[in-house]
């Protein structure tokens, strides 16, 4: 037996023994996702137990070093764990922007003190993070942001407003882009971490077309932030921001993969020949994209991926996800239009469909991704 076979069989045995049966059921709604944090209420005992057991093993962040709460797994081992979890349909024990976005940035740019302070509590799901990037006047032109942090000697004084802050009303801490200099656009931005409970921070949920409010407006009014909570160098936060955006785009691109296994056509069983044809065309694109995701993962691991390639993946994955939900709506007919009935699980199909429209806006619009590919990969002039 090779080492990886041994790892696989141990992993399989552990998952069999430790993943509660309820956590092997597909998620019924967003409420089934465990986000952790100071104020988290577990939806069930099984959800709590599953998180605790995975945390103990370092498997909420299997590839992070052990000293930061991970398990120090190699990419190959992490992949095996992922496959074995998928095999039994195990739910992700912890959804976390700390894991998917801030963590990688801290690992690359954070000081040793910052890593020791913030990473373990992310791994354990104790602190829930939100991302303060976009502003009312800085969307696609993110570097045009105005929220400022003034150096007051022993602290930063933050004033300004963020928008589209996902789950800001539920988050414990924020990683935030702030202007620390007006001398240069990208070169005057710093990457700041602070507690959302700090006096002067307030949030206001935004009601979206889906009827849900996953995003907030976030206001900073004379917020005092300790000096040691800048990640990387002052005025060099754009480097951190871009690196983190790459990870965010990868995560969003994953939406292109949709659910586990099976084609959309197999799920919808369309009886209209023209709809069937459109779904088949979609399934071709979706299965091809799944092959690309797998290849992208391998290329990324091997350092062979172009640094701008997450933009290509994000664009393709999100456009695909929007198409998927258009087809789900078409396949569902008038059933899919019900907005709040029990039968429709509270309008899940329609609300999910509307939610996907943000996929090609959040984390950089499709148009911004195409600009990046045109400039950095194709080398087109003036892009």
């Amino acid at each position: 037996m090779t080492e990886s076979d041994a790892f696989r069989s141990n992993t399989r045995a552990w998952l069999e023994a430790n993943c509660p049966p309820e956590m092997r059921q597909p998620m019924r709604s967003e409420e089934d996702a465990c986000w952790g944090g100071r104020n988290w209420t577990f939806a069930s005992d099984a959800q709590r137990v599953w998180l605790e057991r995975m945390v103990e093993r370092g498997w909420t962040v299997p590839h992070w070093p052990k000293e930061y709460g991970g398990a120090g797994l190699s990419p190959a081992e992490a992949k095996i764990l992922k496959e074995e979890m998928a095999r039994i349909g195990a739910r992700n024990p912890l959804y976390s922007f700390g894991i998917s976005m801030l963590g990688p940035a801290l690992l690359k740019f954070g000081s040793e003190e910052q890593k020791k302070r913030f990473l373990p509590e992310i791994a354990r799901g104790e602190i829930r993070w939100c991302q303060g990037y976009s502003e009312p006047g800085a969307g696609s032109d993110l570097a045009g942001l105005h929220t400022k942090a003034e150096d007051k000697g022993d602290h930063w004084l933050v004033n300004g407003q963020k928008v589209w802050t996902s789950y800001a009303d539920k988050a414990d801490w924020i990683f935030c882009l702030v202007r620390t200099s007006t001398e240069s656009k990208q070169g005057g931005i710093s990457f700041l971490l602070f507690d959302m409970a700090t006096p002067g921070v307030s949030t206001k949920p935004i009601l979206l077309i889906s009827g849900n409010s996953p995003f907030c407006e976030t206001f900073f009014d004379d917020v005092k932030v300790p000096k040691d909570q800048v990640v990387g160098q002052v005025n060099r936060g754009w480097d951190v921001a871009k690196y983190l955006l790459g990870h965010e785009r990868e995560m969003i691109a994953g939406m292109g993969l949709g659910g586990t296994g099976g084609t959309l056509g197999a799920a919808l069983k369309p009886d209209d020949p023209l709809l069937r044809a459109e779904i088949a065309a979609f399934d071709v694109d979706a299965l091809a994209f799944a092959a690309m995701s797998e290849r992208f993962f391998e290329m990324f691991k091997a350092g062979e991926a172009h640094p701008a390639s997450p933009s290509m993946m994000k664009y393709a994955g999100t456009e695909l996800n929007k198409r998927r939900h258009e087809l789900i709506m078409a396949g569902g007919g008038s059933d899919a239009l019900e907005w709040d009935s029990e039968r429709s699980k509270g309008g899940k199909a329609a609300r999910d469909w509307l939610r996907t429209k943000a996929n090609s806006i959040e984390g950089g619009t499709s148009e911004v991704q195409l600009n990046i590919v045109a400039k950095h990969i194709l080398g087109l002039p003036g892009a």
Partner: protein, 374 residues
């Protein structure tokens, strides 16, 4: 899917430099087209494929080949597509070799394939659209052999082939996969009408009227022809997908270069966002099509149960992406793209033929639906 290993990368580099040097339109496609070559490809170049060992990719080592597989064939075919190289590589070294592997025909034909001398063609389609299970051509037992009656079309390289793999019905009726038998029909059997296709390649229409073949012409089992046929077709579809990726990539590279050279309104046209976004979209689609083609090849090589589904995905995806690439290519080149002098139009014509070969985008989308039970 694992990335390419060092041997595969070396093979890719060998094929890339060989075909860039020797396989481009000036030396091959245009040359043979404009000199009225009846084969539609260069026999000397085909021998060079043999000398480099490329024709032995799908032939087992024990029989003198490289003992590699569809992934390696895909690497070569992408370069063939990029350079628009007319060559019997796909029909012979991939489809032909796969059809006769582990049969009595292997010993007879492998040496000729290895040396780059033998050429094979596959005769499947009987109407203008692909439909291998709709075969109506008959093969009736007579004496020690069979009598063939029926007709075939779109037999690529059929007019220069030493052997034409021909599928005919020994039992059952059109629409059934049972009762088909694959025959190795030697050159000269049946009436042959040569047709030049849009991309200047040659395909044959064949008419068989009471043509007798020996019993040993059967490839595999009588009534069991679907198995070798499907194996050969799937390797051909995965190969055509890879070649289409090459066509798409070649056309797009040429187009992106043009965007960086051509000036209008006092600017390089590549500065216009209307063109940038289309080019960037195309880039991503080509990457995705390549991933699908390689995945299909890999699943074929490992005998994975999902191979057939992924082959259909790869052919459908690569065909639609290459179609987009050549259309955008001609459009973005503007007037010069409409001229015979410029190579971008050659990509459009090559894509048209490859897209149709072994089933077009609609055929394979339908396969994806069928294989997913909807």
């Amino acid at each position: 899917m694992p990335l390419l290993n060092d041997d595969q990368k070396m093979l890719q580099e060998t094929a890339a430099s060989f075909l860039a040097d020797e396989g481009g339109p000036a030396k091959q496609l245009r040359h043979w087209r404009d000199t009225g070559c009846t084969d539609g490809y260069g026999t000397a170049l085909w021998k060079q494929f043999g000398e480099l060992g490329l024709t032995g990719i799908c032939i087992p080592e024990a029989q003198g080949g490289l003992g590699l597989g569809s992934v390696e064939a895909a690497l070569v075919l992408e370069e063939i597509g990029r350079n628009l190289t007319p060559s019997p590589f796909l029909t012979t070294a991939v489809v032909g070799a796969r059809a006769i592997e582990a049969t009595a025909h292997a010993e007879r034909w492998f040496p000729g394939i290895l040396s780059g001398e033998a050429v094979f063609a596959l005769a499947v389609d009987e109407g203008p659209r692909h439909g291998p299970d709709r075969v109506a051509m008959t093969a009736e037992r007579r004496g020690n052999g069979f009598v063939l009656n029926g007709q075939k079309q779109f037999v690529v390289h059929g007019n220069s082939a030493d052997m034409i793999l021909t599928i005919a019905r020994t039992a059952g009726s059109p629409g059934e996969r049972e009762g088909l038998t694959l025959f190795a029909v030697p050159r000269g059997a049946g009436d042959l009408e040569s047709a030049t296709l849009a991309d200047s390649s040659k395909a044959a229409r064949l008419t068989f009227s009471n043509v007798e073949v020996d019993a040993d012409a059967v490839v595999g089992e009588v009534d069991g022809g679907w198995e070798p046929l499907n194996r050969a077709l799937n390797s051909g579809r995965a190969g055509a997908a890879a070649e289409l990726v090459g066509v798409a990539a070649g056309a797009t590279a040429m187009t992106v270069d043009y965007l960086k050279q051509r000036k209008q309104f006092g600017k390089l046209i590549g500065e216009f966002q209307a063109l940038q976004h289309r080019a960037a979209h195309l880039y991503g689609e080509i990457e995705i099509a390549r991933a699908a083609a390689l995945k299909a090849a890999e699943l074929l090589d490992s005998g994975n149960e999902k191979a057939e589904l992924m082959v259909a995905v790869a052919k459908a995806k690569a065909a639609s992406v290459a179609r987009l690439a050549v259309q955008e290519g001609v459009q973005m080149h503007g007037g010069i793209g409409m001229t015979d002098e410029h190579d971008i139009g050659l990509y459009m014509k090559r894509d048209a033929v490859l897209g149709e070969l072994f089933g077009d985008v609609y055929y394979h989308r339908n396969r994806v639906a069928e294989l997913s039970s909807y």
